[in-house]
Amino acid sequence: MALVTIKRNSPQHIAVRVLGVLLVVIAVLWVPTKMTTGNIDSMTNALALVIAASALNLVIGYTGLISIGHSAFFGIGSYATGVLVSKYGWGHGWSMIFGALLAFVFGFIVALPALRIKGIYLALVTLAVAVLFPTMMKWPKLEWLTNGARGISGIRYEELPSLPFLGELKGRDDRTVFFYWYAIMLVIITVLVCRGIVKSRMGRALIAIRDNEIGAEVMGVNLATTKTLVFGVSAALTSLAGSLSVARTGVVTADGANLTLIGSIVFLVVMVVGGAATITGPIIGALVYVWVDNYTRTASASGEGLIGWLFDWSAVSPASIILSVALIVLMFVAPDGVFGLVRRLARRVVVIK
């Protein structure tokens, strides 16, 4: 039994929610004002993962369609921004919108097999997409567009529009702080889109498809349009993360981690570790991922402590190894992820009725 019971929409409930929002706002403002430049950059990186994992959550977490091809949609956004900004002089915003539209179309097409096949077979099709994408980008026949294996670098970034209340925050490092806010804006868009879909007739239809496809269809859910559209929306959101990352680093190569199969796996791990089929889960998952990534990277580089002893041989960050092990453990103790675990523990103290 819970210690405290709060009625839904009672003053207490509203107070708790206002407090929650306030804490998030404080945290969001705290990062660019108080953190070091390097840490702000890590946060922006985490925010890109929030976008990709939230988008993937729509497809896997809510609809139950397995995709390990989302790195390709990340790549579409990356290349759209890279090519259009550096070669055709587009602004970042427009390149991002173009990338999202392109990714939507591709997502729609990739989902077509999902109308006939499921589970492991769909996973294999999306796996093929993930493997094909970097190869395509390195294809000599496309070199005029993609620069082949060299990739595109030196992509300029636009100045932060000089909004009065941001002037103060720009203080230390324009570029880093700019992209942090850029990322926050895109995260807000992503969360609003995901939340909007989930808390509606369409969101219930997605879960219905996941839980019982025949049941959903008999209730009138059009499986074909629902699956293809949610895949398209998810792909478009994922491409935003790609555009953001390219804007931040100024570089895009076909072998960039998030553009290859590794990226798909990272999005998946972030989603599952945080908590699938929740809005908050991917946000927590991404923060955990980037924190573990940074922590282990420094620890293994310095060779100190347990992490250092374990991983000093590893050239890359051992985060993916650690998180993979964490994932296995988590599947036993909390299949609903970190957020699910926290929520279950919180319900022992407070229940909202």
């Binding site: 609003l192 889109v193 909007g196 879909i197 808390k199 509606s200 007739r201 369409m202 969101g203 219930r204 239809a205 879960i207 219905a208 996941r210 839980d211 019982n212 025949i214 049941g215 959903a216 269809e217 008999v218 209730m219 009138g220 859910v221 059009n222 499986l223 559209l229 949610v230 929306v233 089929a277």
Partner: protein, 253 residues
């Protein structure tokens, strides 16, 4: 007036003939019982009517519409609801949400409106009220927030009926709604079905192995065996039909 006309419908699975030339009609406003021994093809009839199985021959007309030209997800829009013999609920959703999905075909909010939140709250509020009223009618209101997973089979059978009624159908197909219920609950269900029929102005096709219940509520009964119709008539006629007695009690009876 005949609401449903099934004419010469044949369904085959590889070599197995699940339905062979099945023909029967259901009158508007009737409760039509559909009975027969295990494997007779009753559930197959339901799956033909909800466009899950494609017949190799025959035609089905519902309310003047050629049903075989309609896609499975548009069946609900025509006014046909159904329940499933082995349940097709959404286990992770609450009972309330399950019933809300039942009204999917009546809803208007698509992806664009969901994302822009245009009219979403209003649709959800109305839907929540009507769904809650349905749960109440089936004595499930206190379980509204409970996920469907983990509830007893008999309870879930009732949730399925509530869900099937959520879209305000003209015609409902009930596949063994009384399975998993105790004797008194079966009686209660029979009363509920008769009440719901007049309240919602429904026509029903009822598959059930509880003979006393079928005999009590049905206006007409169709009896099947091996994918064919072997008898048809009022409960009294069917009960005394030697073919039916033979099918149920074996060859010597």
């Amino acid at each position: 007036m005949d609401l449903l006309k099934v004419d010469g419908v044949t369904v085959e699975f590889g070599g197995i003939v699940a339905l062979s030339g099945l023909t029967f009609n259901v009158q508007q406003g009737d409760i039509c019982g559909l009975i027969g021994p295990n494997g007779a093809g009753k559930t197959t009839v339901f799956n033909v009517l909800s466009r899950i199985y494609e017949p190799t021959q025959g035609s089905v007309t519902f309310d003047g519409v050629d049903l075989l030209g309609v896609e499975a997800h548009d069946i609900a829009k025509l006014g046909i609801g159904r329940t499933f013999q082995n349940l097709a609920l959404f286990p992770s959703m609450s009972l309330l949400e399950n019933v809300m999905v039942g009204a999917h075909s009546k809803g208007r909010v698509g992806f664009v409106r969901a994302i822009t939140r245009f009219g979403v709250r209003r649709e959800d509020r109305q839907l929540r009220e009507t769904s809650m009223a349905l749960l109440e009618a089936f004595g499930l209101a206190q379980l509204a927030a409970h996920p469907a997973a983990g509830l007893p089979f008999g309870t879930l059978k009732r949730v399925e009926i509530a869900r099937a009624l959520a879209a305000k159908p003209k015609f409902v197909l009930l596949d063994e709604p009384a399975s998993g219920l105790t004797h008194s609950e079966v009686d209660e269900l029979a009363d509920t079905l008769v009440r719901v029929r007049s309240e919602f102005n429904l026509t029903m096709l009822l598959v059930e192995h509880h003979m006393s219940m079928v005999m009590k509520v049905s206006d007409k009964i169709v009896v099947m065996e091996f994918g064919r119709k072997i008898a048809e008539g009022t409960p009294a006629e069917v009960r005394d039909n030697p073919e039916v007695i033979r099918a149920y009690l074996g060859t010597d009876a």
